[in-house]
Subunit: 269 residues, 3 copies
């Protein structure tokens, strides 16, 4: 058995910390296949890390071990955990880093990692990615049973995730992520937009006093630099500017309020 191990961290790409974690994994399972999802999670931003893991985990083969290390409370009382779901394993600190995943996946069990047979080295107070999560992930990649690693718990830490509110023929949500193209990804879903479309052919998106008419299919449908709304690749409404950064053009960031509304139009029902 040789399951894939992914890494999502806030280590950045300057320091050798991600390389060290890989070395520890390979010292236990020398043929481990380790895939970087992201190492540039904003430092200590647990909710952003949670969103990254949520966006990407389901594209990996069944049995993949998703390791997350955004861990400002390292060395404190927060628990190290393995979350086993129907299709995946998640390894990391129990600090909310798996909040999004816990809201979607069917959880089989959550294990508070306590059995140091699976991490026999000295455990530092500052780098559990290296000292606990890497060896645990390596053992899981070789087929180890999470049940042997500690005790079952049922009170995992989750952080509040902002969800849009519906008010009549409108959804009020917010920007939850800005990607490196400057696209403003909101928490309003394709299903929300479909509901609005069942009310009217005319949809309006409002952000920072600006009104965007309709939901486009592709980035290139607008003139260069014109803000458009579209359903992004992960199923969320996003605001983009073709060949420009919407975040700059609209001066908008995470938390910015966004409204999607069905407006009386040619075929208002």
């Amino acid at each position: 058995m040789n399951r894939i191990v992914t890494l999502t961290t806030d280590f950045g790409l300057k320091d050798p910390y991600a390389g060290i974690v890989k070395g520890v994994i390979l010292s236990i399972n020398s043929s481990a296949q380790i895939i970087d999802i992201a190492h540039n999670v904003s430092p200590h931003d647990i909710l952003e890390g949670s969103f990254y893991i949520y966006q990407s985990y389901a594209y990996f083969p069944e049995g993949t071990i998703h390791t997350g290390v955004v861990d400002p409370g390292v060395g404190s009382e927060r628990r190290p955990v393995v979350i086993e779901t129907e299709d995946y394993f998640f390894v990391g600190p129990d600090n909310g880093l798996f909040s999004h995943v816990l809201g979607r996946e069917k959880v089989r069990r959550i294990i508070h990692i306590t059995n140091s047979d699976y991490f026999p080295g000295r455990v530092s107070h500052t780098f559990h990615g290296r000292d606990i999560f890497a060896p645990v992930a390596a053992h899981l990649s070789m087929g180890a049973d999470p049940g042997d690693m500690g005790v079952s718990i049922d009170d995992p830490c989750t952080l509040p995730i902002p969800v849009p509110e519906r008010s009549g023929s409108a959804f009020r949500g917010e920007v939850v992520y800005v990607d490196s193209f400057g696209n403003l990804i909101t928490n309003i879903t394709d299903k929300d937009i479909e509901y609005l479309k069942s009310l009217s052919t005319d949809i309006e998106i409002r952000i920072k006093g600006l009104k965007i008419e309709g939901v486009c299919k592709t980035y290139s449908m607008a003139g260069t630099g014109k803000p458009i709304a579209l359903i992004g690749s992960c199923g969320y409404l996003e605001i983009a500017c073709n060949c420009k950064k919407a975040s700059d053009a609209l001066n908008a960031a995470v938390g910015e309020k966004v409204e999607a509304a069905a407006v009386p139009g040619r075929s208002y029902r």
Copy 2:
């Protein structure tokens, strides 16, 4: 069969997009060997992406699948293609991203990817790297025949690539790339310089009113910070400053005119 898959994209290294693409590939071929060439192509800069692929593809083993995703027209009419050459496969949008390669490689066939058996999932309008190119590359890595993936075409999109002009005993070219050391890489080739050397032992490089005498062999041959000209590792004339950024020192960027000339000297023939 397990061919290597490379990735050259403008996804950046903050978002989890490259990780998602790898997950899709591994879900089809769990032992795929995936190598990052670059994810920091300047956003939407197709010609830069083309140059990156051109600089690197030939160093990989025969049969390697080079996947390129710099795709501002994603979701529009631009075609997804597989280009099969004598030694390699290239997968990506038909938007000019393989312009440099098409100018050098012997093309066997170019397939417009239309057979959705090779990308059976829902295809978004915004992320064909995940929805088309990744699954196609994964199938190619396992030995799939490009001919089964769609229809042959003979009119691939290519972008104009600036080439130097010769005028008597001089070549007039330009800076085509600035690397992260600040070296100014031009489109004047080692062969051009050899031709000039057949005319005179004295070569002069002119950029921004500055005259650089001769072509050095190594970065360290100049005093610290002094601009020098040399033939870079890919066979192009470049302007560098030992231990400094020539791009800063000369305030020069892509498109800057550069002239290389044989000048009357000790042994002008």
Copy 3:
């Protein structure tokens, strides 16, 4: 035999240079497992590269080939070398890049690479990472004997590494590295601090006129933004600010003087 190959370079992550090096390795050993330790060593900063390799090499399995390319003198007289120690191989320029490692590892032999059978292609004057170190590392990964690659030498280049000075009940050291969290990593060791603790229960850390009392166990033990001292994950005293960058808060960089002292306290002995 298939040993792991690691890469530590100053190539950065924009240009395709790291990808090219991997292509060369895979063209020789198509199943090579190549792990990035870091490509963002500050350009030409040999001592920083040496420190990166030192921090990470020992976490990898026995037999790993650690390849380092921070090479401002490429093309000059500096020698390409393989260093074989009890557990590892190190490949790169003999310019001090292995200074820290040479101070800790038991060296079996150091080979000046001269046998071009192991790098049969044209050798450029500017990119030995591609032309010499990559093919040599690939051959080592398949079990080649370093002794066949050149001649034994015993005068490797090493750079002076700053060490703290003890003066009575205090150690005077300096910041040797600032990581991307802004933590100030010093050259004062956990052993130095243990010695001070044998003198007094009260330890004081002094930096930029600031006095920090005691050595904490975890980043989260201080209030947000308050500077603390702790033993970092690699065994060195470091100055951190919980959830802030100590480097910004204290306006401190590499070279900044740091003093750790046992002070008369409740139990001064």
